[in-house]
């Protein structure tokens, strides 16, 4: 696949292009070795430099990168015996949310996640990861199943947000999200949430309440998209970088605000540069947290989850 570059990756793209043209020049082997070595080194130092100081808006772009690994990529990498389970038993199956059973190591888990789609065709089918109420209701049905059979729940979050459509309103988008928040707050089995890409507002939170909230280094999580915020507060849809900065959407910001528990480091340039390494990092973290959570009693765990969300917010008086 041809690598896709974001606008701020342009300097890196230029060097990669030079490297490619030297390699394709047809010269005798060894002719350009020195130059190639120099360019490769230069590309690497540029990468370290550029990826080392990404702005919140650049991180948002990386979090939405078309090549960024999705929930199903991770499932393929480290979930054994995955079986997808469909439908909310009331209206229809929502492809914007994938749910199923599988094994991580020796542990049987219920896995739920937003799925944006990996090709143009599947993106359309999956509504670009924007779920309707039936998607959240399917997720809840599977969580209740997990509770009945005492299996932990692992949620992967990656969505621009809940779908703002007419049908969604008719079928109770508000109610579906609200109910998930309430039920995830009291579910008796452990829930580990991993924000793998875009955490878009209520649509992300509706599969994002848990005992542990982990976030990939270049993921973002926000109450409103930088575009939406710029349009409303700055009355200027192009002020996305300013809005992203002001909204504090990065993993570092969220850790400082005590909204997430841990940042999972990404390979240089983002998870899509080394999906295997990224998968290992995520898998290891999930297993470690589930080990910890399963040592707690049901009562301790639900009380800790209550207190975790109870403590969120900053006010005086």
């Amino acid at each position: 696949m041809v690598r896709q570059y974001l606008d701020f990756e342009k300097p890196i793209a230029d060097i990669h292009e030079q490297i490619e043209s030297l390699r394709a020049s047809g010269a005798a082997p060894g002719t350009h070795d020195k130059e190639l070595e120099r360019l490769t080194k230069k590309a690497h130092s540029l990468e370290v430099d550029i990826y080392g100081k990404l702005s919140p808006w650049q991180q948002t772009q990386l979090a939405r990168h078309p090549e960024r690994p999705s929930m199903l990529d991770y499932v393929e990498k480290f979930v054994e015996g995955f079986l997808e389970l469909h439908g909310d038993r009331a209206y229809r199956d929502d492809p914007a949310i994938v749910g199923g059973i599988g094994r991580i190591g020796t542990r049987e888990v219920v896995i739920i996640g937003n799925q944006k789609g990996r090709t143009l065709k599947t993106r359309v089918i999956r509504n670009f990861g924007m779920a309707n109420p039936e998607g959240y209701r399917k997720a809840l049905r599977l969580m209740h199943m997990a509770e009945r059979f005492k299996k932990p729940v692992v949620c992967f979050v990656d969505t621009p947000g809940a779908y703002p459509g007419m049908g969604a309103e008719e079928r109770g988008q508000s109610e579906a999200i609200a109910r998930n928040l309430m039920e995830m707050g009291r579910l008796k089995v452990p829930i580990v949430v991993v924000i793998i890409g875009e955490g878009g507002s209520g649509g992300a939170l509706a599969v994002g309440v848990g005992d542990r909230i982990l976030m990939l280094e270049n993921s973002v999580y926000s109450v409103i998209s930088p575009e939406g915020c710029a349009a409303i507060l700055w009355k200027d849809g192009t002020k996305t970088a300013t809005a992203a900065e002001a909204l504090k959407v990065t993993a570092k910001d969220l850790l400082a605000l005590k909204v997430i528990d841990e940042i999972l480091p990404e390979p240089l340039g983002g998870g899509h540069h080394d999906v295997t390494q990224m998968s290992t990092t995520i898998r290891t973290a999930i297993v470690r947290h589930l080990d910890q959570l399963e040592k707690m009693s049901e009562k301790e765990r639900t009380e800790a989850r209550y207190q975790k969300f109870r403590a969120m917010g900053v006010y005086e008086g």
């Binding site: 508000s174 969300f309 917010g313």
Partner: protein, 288 residues
């Protein structure tokens, strides 16, 4: 443009251009556009005598309409926003808050108190839309949570009136987390059999609709209120067509099974009294 669509345009996230009843002897109804005598509206619980349009009412008027006289004892009014993100757009968040405090005479959106309705104790919370469009930040989240915890401790019904454009963007992710915080607090009431009645008033949207306000054991809507997850403009931009008349109104929510009933402001007190009596009797029967 029909009257309905003109009204839709007035719903904004900040709510700053929301229609208020102007001073004077006469006023124009937002519903039927008739010119009506102000005193007649005031004497009619701020409802248009011609078309039943429910004008916005203040928190104090609301308390007067539903609580037994002199039973409302406010608490929690000292809580203030702290500007955790040091947020600034064209105006600093701190300054927006100060302006709203000056305008409304209160520290934030949510007014909480202990009260009695038809002789029975309740914990009550009422949102003031005039304060930054009723937006939910850390203070609203904390007060809803305290109200739920208080209702649980006293084992009395919780009644929350919502009116909100949604989450308060200026508190970023912390405002989103208030959705989880308040919903988890309501979960505790469910687990312990403490009743919660949600009254949705015009308008209730976004993060407030998608959290505590949809989670009542009984959901009540005021007539004609706009209630939804996404605002009408966002939906129109997404689907690239205009919305049908009555979309996201209380009557639409009733028809789609999202609220139990639509209750006229004049009969709301009696309805709440009836519900509180019902729930009270089950609590006694369960031995609490």
């Amino acid at each position: 443009m029909s009257w309905f669509r003109q009204k839709l345009r007035k719903i904004t996230a900040s709510g700053e251009d929301r229609t208020e009843i102007p001073e004077g002897f006469w006023l124009k109804c937002n519903g039927c556009k008739e010119i009506i005598y102000r005193k007649e509206v005031d004497a009619n619980s701020k409802i248009c005598p011609k078309c039943n349009y429910h004008f916005p009412i203040s928190v104090d008027e609301r308390v007067g309409l539903i609580c037994d006289p002199h039973t409302f004892k406010a608490w929690g009014g000292e809580l203030k926003s702290k500007d955790p993100l040091v947020f600034k757009d064209s105006v600093r968040y701190r300054d927006r808050v100060k302006k709203a405090q000056k305008k409304t005479g209160r520290n934030d959106v949510m007014v909480c108190g202990d009260a009695a309705i038809c002789g029975r104790p309740v914990v009550l919370g009422i949102m003031d839309f005039e304060f930054m469009g009723g937006s939910m930040g850390s203070v609203v989240g904390e007060l809803v949570t305290r109200a739920a915890e208080r209702a649980l401790k006293k084992r009395v019904p919780l009644i929350l009136f919502s009116a909100s454009g949604g989450a308060r963007m200026q508190e970023g992710i912390l405002s989103l987390m208030q959705m989880a915080k308040t919903s988890v607090a309501i979960a505790r009431l469910r687990e312990n059999g403490v009743p919660y009645i949600s009254v949705l008033t015009d308008p209730t949207f976004g993060g407030v609709a998608a959290s505590f306000s949809m989670l009542g054991d009984v959901n009540i809507a005021e007539p004609g209120a706009l209630i939804g997850f996404a605002g009408p403009r966002v939906i129109e931009q997404t689907i690239k067509q205009s919305l049908p008349e009555g979309f996201q109104r209380s009557e639409f929510l009733l028809e789609h099974g999202m609220v139990d009933m639509i209750v006229d402001r004049k009969t709301l007190r009696d309805t709440l009294g009836r519900l509180v009596a019902f729930f009270g009797s089950t609590a006694v029967a369960a031995g609490h």
